[in-house]
Symmetry: C2
Subunit: 482 residues, 2 copies
């Protein structure tokens, strides 16, 4: 049932990458006919803000919208929400779209961007139990926050979700008894942020992490700092422990989650579980028509082009080139999606623009602690074939004599053969997180450690000691490199 319709530029997915591309293309060339198909009701929202909505620091769900649909339409973009693209045919240059009523139609394109995002993984037996949650998207955030209210206190309006909200789901969770004890399964970004969110509601939190340390991407030093911090804030940590299943409270394991069962036989009673063990790229619609990378996400070139002509991919469903290894990698993060979308929009509009690489830079708040990471950890460097040398230093965040100076832990990793900086991490209570930007910039510039030592960073007692903690680490690493 073709609608005989077609656009110059069709975008699959109305979030960071998709709408950045649509907006940029339209801005650069207002003649372009741009259509965005989004399967859900929400568009252009800040994923990374959802833990703070659950925590209560962000009042309304709609506060997390970057661009309301009206504004998108004002930009001249044909935005079709609740329109799911279920197939892509690069040979015909069409996509197949399913409407809210279930009917499907074909829509042609000159250029296509697949920005279909990702979904939360929940591989555990018991995933379907009541009180087992993932945090991905605003409706899931709404359900979690609804669950935290006493049923008598809850109103669906309190979520501030406007017309976008899946009210039925939110009401269902709002009607449940709030949890007293929550399992956070997976100690990655989302897990750590959600410990803080649950703790704000006076809930006991148990964190389960399969490896010996949480936050493996941040390296052991940051992980240990965050572990100490979570414990000091009352969380109980179970590391080196594999969760086997989630068990329910009714006869045949149905009903509400009541227990986390670990592979070593230990069990922990809980009345809710947040599963944060990573996300999977949404590649199904193009899995047969474009090449996927080793990660399972869509493989693209420097311009975000897939193996199929006129088909681009960006955001959480696509790989990107890593600036350190030069290899394709899948590190789904917000800035990457925005930047790649923006570049593809410019390219489609006629100005070929590279999407830029990724350094895998990430920053994270855990209660009063700020952490950052960029590039490769020592372990990742070893896996990538380098012979890494690394150092960890504790330096002051400000001049030692100035009020408010806090310990800042910096790890730097370098290649012992060339002296090139490969990665780093930071942790501390006083502006430690964004100190990683110096590392990220140095990585992008392919600096050696002795070049980092010579960086002319800002010094004033309230903000940094003479030698910024990153420089202190670089000096020590320079000495170790010899």
């Amino acid at each position: 049932m073709p609608d005989n319709d077609s656009s110059d530029f069709v975008v699959v997915g109305g979030d960071a990458a998709g709408l950045s591309a649509a907006s940029k293309a339209k801005r650069e060339n207002s003649e372009l006919d741009v259509t965005v198909f989004e399967k859900g009701r929400w568009v252009s929202y800040a994923h990374c803000g959802t833990p703070y909505f659950v925590k209560g620091e962000v009042e309304k769900l709609t506060d997390l919208l970057s661009l309301p649909p009206d504004e998108i339409k004002e930009r001249g973009i044909d935005l079709r929400r609740e329109h799911e693209v279920v197939g892509v045919s690069p040979d015909d240059k069409t996509v197949t779209v399913r409407k809210p009523d279930g009917d499907e139609f074909e829509h042609g394109y000159d250029d296509l961007l697949v920005a279909a995002g990702a979904r939360a993984a929940n591989p555990f037996e018991g995933a379907e139990l009541d009180g087992v949650l993932t945090l991905h998207g605003l409706d899931s955030a709404a359900c979690i926050r609804a669950l935290l209210h006493e049923p008598d206190d809850f109103t669906v309006e309190s979520l501030g979700g406007g017309d976008y909200l899946n009210e039925e789901a939110a009401r269902r969770y709002g009607g449940m008894e709030p949890p007293k004890k929550v399992a956070v399964v997976g100690g990655g970004y989302v897990g750590v942020e959600m410990v803080e969110a649950f703790s704000a509601w006076d809930i006991d939190v148990h964190v389960f992490q399969r490896s010996d340390h949480i936050l493996p991407a941040f390296g052991e030093e940051v992980a240990e700092s965050v572990e100490d911090c979570l414990k000091q804030n009352g969380a109980e940590l179970h590391t080196g422990v594999e969760v086997e299943r989630l068990r329910g409270d009714s006869d045949r394991d149905g009903g509400r989650v009541s227990e986390v069962v670990c592979s070593d036989g230990t069990t922990v009673e809980v009345d809710a579980a947040l599963v944060g063990v990573g996300i999977r790229p949404n590649v199904e619609i193009v899995a047969d028509s474009v090449e996927l990378g080793d990660s399972g996400a869509v493989a693209v070139d420097k311009y975000g082009r897939t193996s199929a002509e006129n088909v681009y991919a960006a955001g959480d469903c696509a790989e990107m080139e890593h600036v350190v290894t030069g290899e394709d990698d899948w590190v789904p993060l917000g800035l990457t999606a925005n930047r790649a979308g923006r570049a593809i929009g410019a390219t489609v509009a006629g100005t070929p623009t590279e999407t830029g690489g990724i350094a895998g830079t990430a920053v994270l708040k855990a209660f009063e602690l700020g952490c950052g990471r960029s590039g490769l950890s020592a372990e990742e460097a070893r896996e990538a074939g380098y012979d890494p040398v690394s150092v960890t230093v504790d330096a002051a965040s400000r001049s030692g004599y100035y009020p408010g100076a806090e310990k800042t832990t910096v790890t730097l990793v370098a290649d012992s053969d060339t002296g090139r900086l490969l990665g780093g991490s930071t942790a501390g209570k006083d502006r430690a997180a964004k100190r990683i930007d110096t590392v990220a910039t140095a990585l992008e510039a392919e600096m050696t450690v002795d070049e980092v030592v010579r960086l002319d960073l800002g010094y004033a007692p309230p903000f940094s000691p003479v030698w910024d903690p990153v420089l202190v680490a670089a000096k020590v690493l320079e000495g170790k490199l010899g």
Copy 2:
């Protein structure tokens, strides 16, 4: 009266550059015989902390010492305080040293580092009046803080200066009536920091700046932010006004300062004046024996070598190569001194090490505001022969929906011919100052603006919006460059 003595490495000046060099040389080669001559009693102290000592946030003067003399001696360095080097003879490879008793002797060297620092300028008629102060060195900080106490409340011990303090001077100032109204002449770093310090003592502050804006090195945008901030905190600003003289309260203009007289005829009554109109390099002892640069400071090569064999110079008395222009420049700052000293120490000990260039990076606190600058301002770029394009943006310091987000003003300057980033500045209440480190690192890497746009900086709602304010500015500048 030669003492028939000689050292492998002689250092003139016992502060940042001098002691960094001595320590590094000794650490790299413990066999080296290292002697440091320092004309004063204080060594290895944090200049930049003095405004906070005057303010009262730093309790004791000795808190500002990085390395006490005892520790320096434990490192095997022959530190001779109150020994002033009054002459250098590169032909004989000797220095002439004046002892505390006034006697002089010759001391030989294999390698010599001149790290004689700088002194505060005070070119005004009336400079000698009571209550006219400069802030350079710990004794001057002691005198200013002494002056701020009621004579009855003051004890010299309260300054926490130990044996190092010039007690006589401190007592003299401690005996004076504290000022009610202070003139800060010069709106540079020191001036701005001292406004904050004086305000903490409930003193009315008048700032006098010859040019139309304070902080010329930070560019107009930062200057305006700081000006607003100073005014909101009660300071009165007199910009575009030249101070002609300081007038005293006794008959023949002696006694205590009572009035600032400007060249346009206006006068402002004050009872103290802090003159912060810059510093001058201490080059007299080598002015006849080594080449000076255009700035009047000592000219050096990439290794800190002067035109005289085996004579190095570093710190506030030496020029350095600017990483943007590639020209020699004089930007006397703490990190520069420490790094150059450290490199020269390594070179003298047998490992030739470049001192690194300067980007002129500086950060500054003005009450609740943090500011940074690096590289060239638009005006400096024009003077250096570039055809600069610049943009200024106001962006949020965190995601807009996250509590504590503050306006962050970022200015970036680029070369319109090549698109190369030339400089930038930042200002804001939420961690704006150290965001300049990204700019400093990008400048050192000679990045173009489109490379800056592609930087993978850290994003999480509590620390940064998706696009860090520096990236927002880079995107706008990229658009302007076309």
